[in-house]
């Protein structure tokens, strides 16, 4: 057997716009997808990963599995309505649940900064335990690393999750058909603005609470109405605008948002106005966007509104045959505007 020499591999670094990692590479916008498509996919790609869903659906004799992973580096680690711990549990559960899967097991990996208070870590572990119990999932494996002071910011958490997908369910960002209706489960931008307005340097205070929560219970009830949900995602980093752009591109449909249709709490809207931020681009951690056939949209909406996690649910738009791959919103003045993908970071690190 010949010795394998790693230097003999001829895969040059793909041509990218930057030589070093920039903040925007992690911001969920165009640079993020650039990094994934040009650097990671050519190396790691396989049939499952290439679909670019929020979860991997694995074929298994008899049962399909949904499998996902996510890392959490939010700053500050405690914010109104939650902390990095419940965020890490809920975020991964939601990524599994968005495939229609029933989330079952989680892994948790901690990267901790030397000098982190044990009391603080304990509080975070407690809220993780609580979040997992509430959602009915078990943390079954984990890992802890400690790095030198200054090598990470207090702590980072990685979680992976596995769930089983009911056989008739086939949810994908690529399945949207013209005529489908787009439903959001509640108000947007709560999480991002809660984190943003907690920053010490900001000269105003707000009562905004993060919406971090696990959505698998809501998804269960939605699947009871119909298994024919075409696409579903939780609009986290990059917000509703990013998720809808991903939908439009992956399904090659146009998405038409109705005028002022996306619900925003008044105090959240106020904070957005003050800071010059569009709520459509702000992260959510307890909301989902479902795309369903037009003929079941009203029934689905009522079922969602009956659940406390979907009480403010609303139909915000529909898939159309014009402007393929683009999201357009009517402005209320008889005109249209594009709702584009964000370019990079709109906010400090938020999830």
């Amino acid at each position: 057997m010949t010795n394998f020499d790693i230097n003999s591999m001829s895969c040059p670094l793909p041509k990218m716009d930057f030589d070093t990692i920039q903040l925007a590479h992690g911001a969920g916008g165009k640079l993020s997808s650039d990094l994934i498509e040009k650097l990671f996919l050519p190396r790691f790609g396989n049939q499952t990963l290439n679909k670019l869903e929020d979860q991997a659906i694995l074929e298994n004799p008899g049962k399909r599995l949904a499998f996902t992973t996510d890392s959490f580096v939010v700053d500050p680690i405690f914010f109104p309505g939650g902390n990095i711990g419940d965020l890490a549990i809920n975020g991964t559960i939601n990524d599994v649940a968005m495939s229609g899967a029933k989330p079952l097991y989680l892994s948790v990996g901690f990267i901790l900064e030397e000098g982190l208070s044990l009391e603080l870590l304990h509080q975070i572990a407690l809220s993780m335990e609580f979040a997992a119990k509430q959602a009915g999932v078990q943390i079954v494996t984990g890992d802890t690393k400690v790095v030198n002071k200054g090598s990470c910011d207090k702590l980072f958490i990685n979680t992976s999750g596995i769930g089983t997908v009911p056989s008739e369910v086939n949810i994908s960002a690529a399945n949207i058909q013209p005529g489908d209706k787009i439903i959001i489960s509640g108000t947007v931008a709560d999480h991002g603005m809660a984190v943003m307005t907690t920053r010490e340097d900001l000269s105003f205070k707000s009562q905004i609470q993060s919406d971090t929560t696990a959505l698998n219970g809501l998804v269960d009830e939605m699947l009871n109405v119909s298994k024919d949900i075409h696409a579903m995602r939780d609009p986290t980093r990059g917000g509703v605008a990013t998720t809808l752009n991903e939908f439009a591109r992956q399904s090659n449909v146009g998405i038409q948002l109705y005028t002022d249709s996306v619900p925003v709490k008044p105090e959240v809207n106020g904070a957005c106005e003050v800071l010059g931020i569009d709520p459509l681009y702000v992260a959510n951690e307890g909301k989902l966007i479902a795309v369903v056939p037009g003929n079941i949209a009203d029934e689905m909406l009522s079922a969602m509104q009956a659940n406390k996690l979907g009480k403010d649910a609303k139909i915000i738009g529909e898939a159309v045959t014009e402007n393929l791959g683009i999201v357009v919103q009517s402005t209320g003045f008889g005109a249209n505007r594009i709702v584009d993908m964000p370019i990079g970071e709109q906010l400090p690190r938020i999830c």
Partner: protein, 364 residues
């Protein structure tokens, strides 16, 4: 939300629009001076609903866009120094200098921080006495009082590790320059509402008279802009050229006197370069000699950095209202928000970025 919803009401918009249609009899070219107005126009699609007689051209009032390349290169040089905390409004971080932007300086280890106010930068200076804290003080009359106040407070508290890299420009000299150009097409101005909040509109009265153009200090919401256009069209049709205030809830004729006082205490009027336009005499603010220890250009000795601007980007022509962003051959091709050739494609107030962000369908 109060003070916003009533200025975004489609029913009122329709009424004003029908008033404009009733009044107009011939083509007119109106310039909205401020980039914030340009974005509101494109975001709400106001340009799509106006009668075809009205052509809106987009003015130079985008602070990020008119900040010369040279100043950005100076910022990059200062931000790269060890022991410096470089603070800036977020918009400036992605504006390309000659070979990089502030985000890249940050990723190379520079301490570059986004702040929402120069007073926040001063607080950082107070908390980090062993570091030099620099604030990137750009903008028009709107941001000048805050920037002046930071220097004033630093001076009063004896804080010496704070300075500002200043590139302040003034709106009236630019408006005058555009009107006096032989290529000028502008027949009326929607003046920048927030600049007028500070400065009032006395300075516009002689300009309106000399160049025979109506000038309307105008707000930023859709109803403001439609009303501003109506007030301009009424005057144009009647052959009048006066300053008439649309932005009643924010602007008074004399402006904000205490804000003007702090500006003139710290700054004096002098020549300034504008990106894409060149030097305009008496068009900017410079730190007065008695406060020169707060002048980052002097403190860090970057006065010798001189940069020639490339002619690939036609931002200057766009900022003068002579061309529309989508008429640039590089628009959406070599030049996108991800790979901007010029600041007009980066800034949240830049005309090119507004066209790219909201209206690509129309131009494709």
């Amino acid at each position: 939300m109060k003070y916003l919803d009533e200025f975004r009401d489609p029913v009122i918009a329709k009424q004003i629009l029908s008033e404009i249609k009733k009044t107009i009899t011939q083509p007119w070219v109106i310039m909205e001076v401020c980039g914030g107005q340009t974005h509101s126009i494109l975001k709400n699609g106001i340009d799509q609903i106006l009668p075809k007689e009205i052509e809106l051209v987009h003015g130079p009032g985008c602070p990020v866009c008119v900040t010369p390349l040279e100043i950005i290169d100076k910022a990059l040089a200062i931000a790269s120094l060890p022991n410096v905390i470089f603070t800036s409004f977020g918009d400036m971080l992605r504006v390309p200098g000659s070979n990089k932007d502030l985000f890249q300086v940050k990723s190379e280890g520079g301490d570059v921080r986004i702040v929402y106010s120069p007073l926040e930068a001063l607080k950082i200076a107070r908390n980090n006495p062993d570091k030099e804290v620099v604030f990137f003080a750009i903008g028009f009359e709107t941001t000048a009082p805050g920037n002046a106040m930071a220097i004033y407070q630093a001076h009063r508290e004896g804080i010496t590790n704070f300075s500002e890299l200043v590139s302040h420009v003034l709106v009236p000299p630019a408006m005058t320059l555009l009107l006096s150009s032989p290529k000028n097409r502008v027949q009326a101005y929607l003046a920048a509402g927030h600049v007028c909040t500070i400065m009032g509109w006395r300075e516009y009265e002689p300009i309106a008279k000399q160049y025979k153009v109506p000038i309307i200090p105008t707000g930023f919401e859709p109803i403001d802009i439609l009303e501003g256009i109506l007030l301009a069209v009424q005057q144009l049709e009647e052959g009048r050229y006066e300053v008439v205030n649309q932005y009643l809830r924010a602007v008074q004729r004399d402006g904000n006197r205490p804000a003007q006082d702090i500006i003139s205490k710290i700054f004096e009027v002098g020549n300034r370069k504008w990106r894409g336009i060149g030097e305009i005499p008496q068009s900017g603010l410079l730190i007065r000699d008695e406060f020169s220890i707060y002048d980052a250009e002097k403190k860090f000795n970057v006065g010798n950095i001189i940069t020639q601007e490339s002619d690939e980007c036609i931002a200057g022509v766009i900022l003068q209202g002579l061309k529309k962003p989508h008429e640039c051959p590089a628009f959406g091709k070599e030049c996108t928000p991800m790979n901007p050739l010029g600041a007009t494609m980066v800034s949240s107030e830049g005309a090119c970025s507004a066209y790219y962000k909201y209206q690509r369908i129309k131009n494709d």
